[in-house]
Symmetry: C2
Subunit: 405 residues, 2 copies
């Protein structure tokens, strides 16, 4: 893909032909359908399909990507190649151009129906910081942490599209040292900057998905904000893990970046010591050089480097299925908070403010320990693409609204 | 409902007109559809509807109960009243009888599509036993346990209908005292006898479902076996709770018993001390006098009394939604293992064999610490119904198959 699109594309925008992420959009009075981002436009795949310009898979005039995601890698490859052809060969321009819609004119929706949602805990810097904050008198990493990618199941029904208002959750919390818990709006609302991948092709029960089969099942990547209520979390999480502190909302970005677009971003992940068990070994390097940025009210709060993640996506998938649990189309797996080794690379306020003890100062002089009502959190990311291009993962955003009276 | 059905119904069978649980069934070569159990028969609601004998809600010729569950309490009440009329008035017999199918001639399927699956931990006897087994040197109950109904999200995609083979999961375990974990089939496969309820009517985001609104949202109850791999569980669960040790399989019974059928089974639950926070208080008694039986290879292994549960179903639902998480149709909430105070009332082998130290002896002289390949576990339950009748919750069963090579 060294060719250039006839669609106007800014290099730094990250939506050239090397990317072509899939999403679902609507316009007033029209049904939702599948599109692909190119420059500042959405290419309407339902329209292209109806015009006979791409294969009619009966899956683009749909309110979700699920029908296309289940079609599998051969279909994904063929459609991607055809889209590149249509968008780079001037000969196709007259017939394709009518199906380009300015992205400003559409509403981007949740791109797929989430089947199950699991969230990992795969940044060694994040896990170490959290351990130091919450368990200062014991090892910061639990004994299992470097042996397996720790994870838990979240609530699929509250995975929301970017832009959905985030209502501050109420719940129980107990101040350390107090005997009685109290009930009320969370006082320690946080974001978590994460990257997720979504399964397209199901796997049968009783058989895991080995690390080598990652591309046969996974459709693409999204950005994830796993909103968290830290006060609820520290009170409720023993012995079965987080529940209400996470289940009120998880936001995902509208564009699903295909695995193929991120192949040039693959890098060698951190050395794993001790060596993982054989089912977690991976013949290829599957670190991903994604550069995340977290903005609070438009000001950069952190720049987490995804390449520093200890456990990689194929390892996460192999682990999640090694017990025989089948994959379903739409299964979403998030990485856990992405934090780098530096203070300004931490992916959540719990770490950035060290549990509220060291307020984070933003560029405009305002300070934050945790999120306030009205705050808008935006996570965006870029990665190296083919032919020296830049791949944008777009952004996921959400604004905090007060708990209803 | 003091009348008697013209369908032959044995009193001890528990499937009289006081019960009328809903399920989904199929016959060879026919599409799945909704039916109701009466005696030894299934009443075909799609057939009744096509014949104009019940309202055509376009939801009975369906492979799941979801369309009917979303219709809400007024529809549930009306349909129940009409079915009682049809099944007790001899005048209707000639037109209804053709829609009765011997249950032996049908295959019972998973009754509904599961949206999210959450599992509680609401038996004080179970939680105390588990605490004593795994944390012998600290308080058996965590500080939050009597303040809130502890729960975690499970995997909705592996909620299977009764009868689905249970493939022994593989995974990591570490023997206490050993430095290295090993990988292989679980050596401590267990069942958990539970009772679940399923939501029919969704609730909006940002608003919880108070205990008083339980009947406005919940369609009915099922039996649940939350299969568990104890060796995987103890190694993986810190700090985020169980994951692979639970996600391989959860089985549910085929008949969903309506809330209305269990009203006569409501009893005063155990006293809660300390008194729960206001959002967890319940004006009505919502203990349920369900008598569970667990059978291993046909021999009774335990008789857990559901009436001994510390947290009740309306409290569980109020808690799960108090953070603003909306309900979806098909959300399944399981109680957690039901254990009574007596040894022969414990709802899982972890407790029955005290983590393998005291093997359970079955009637035929065989002993079990944990489940062996080929073992069949069946959970069944009965409850008092209207007019002195008996309500059966049917049964959930599964046979353990070896891990594939």
């Amino acid at each position: 893909m060294t060719t250039v699109s006839w669609v106007e594309v800014s290099e730094e925008g990250g939506f050239g032909v090397e990317n072509l992420p899939y999403g679902v959009f609507s316009r007033p009075g029209e049904l939702p359908r599948v599109g692909v981002a190119i420059g500042e436009h959405v290419l309407d795949l339902a329209g292209l399909s109806a015009a006979g310009l791409i294969d009619d898979r009966r899956c683009f005039a749909s309110g979700s990507l699920n029908a296309f995601m289940v079609a599998g890698p051969a279909s994904w490859r063929a459609n991607r190649a055809r889209l590149v052809e249509l968008l780079t060969d001037e000969a196709h321009r007259p017939r394709v151009e009518p199906h380009l819609i300015p992205v400003a004119d559409v509403k981007l929706l949740r791109p797929f129906e989430v089947a199950d949602y699991a969230d990992f805990y795969s940044s060694v810097h994040h896990a170490t910081n959290v351990g130091r904050i919450f368990r200062p008198n014991s090892d910061s990493l639990t004994p299992n942490w470097k042996r397996l990618p720790v994870a838990y199941h979240g609530r699929a029904g509250t995975v929301y599209p970017s832009g959905t208002p985030i209502i501050r959750p109420a719940g129980q919390r107990r101040t350390p040292g107090e005997a009685e818990p109290v009930f009320g709006p969370s006082l320690r609302l946080d974001f978590e900057a994460e990257v997720g991948f979504v399964a397209g092709v199901p796997s049968p029960a009783g058989r895991g998905v080995p690390t080598s089969a990652f591309r046969d099942h996974v459709f693409g990547f999204v950005l994830v904000n796993d909103w968290s209520a830290r006060d609820l979390q520290s009170w409720e999480s023993q012995p079965l893990g987080p529940f209400l502190s996470k289940s009120f909302a998880t936001s995902i970005s509208p564009w699903v970046v295909p695995v193929a677009a991120l192949e040039p971003a693959r890098v060698t992940p951190p050395v794993q010591d001790p060596a993982p068990l054989p089912y977690l070994r991976c013949a290829e390097p599957w670190g991903l050089d994604l550069h995340l940025e977290v903005l609070i009210n438009g000001q950069v709060a952190s720049r987490p480097p995804f390449a520093s993640m200890y456990w990689t996506s194929p390892q996460q998938l192999a682990h999640a299925t090694v017990n025989g649990a089948p994959l379903r189309t739409g299964d979403l797996f998030a990485s856990g908070t992405v934090s780098g080794p530096e203070r300004d690379q931490r992916g959540c306020l719990l770490e950035l403010s060290w549990n509220g003890r060291e307020p984070l100062e933003l560029d405009d002089g305002t300070k934050r320990t945790f999120l306030e009502d009205g705050d808008t959190v935006t996570i965006r990311a870029k990665a190296p693409g083919a032919s020296g291009s830049l791949i944008s993962l777009g952004e996921v955003t959400g604004t905090v609204h007060p708990t209803p009276a």
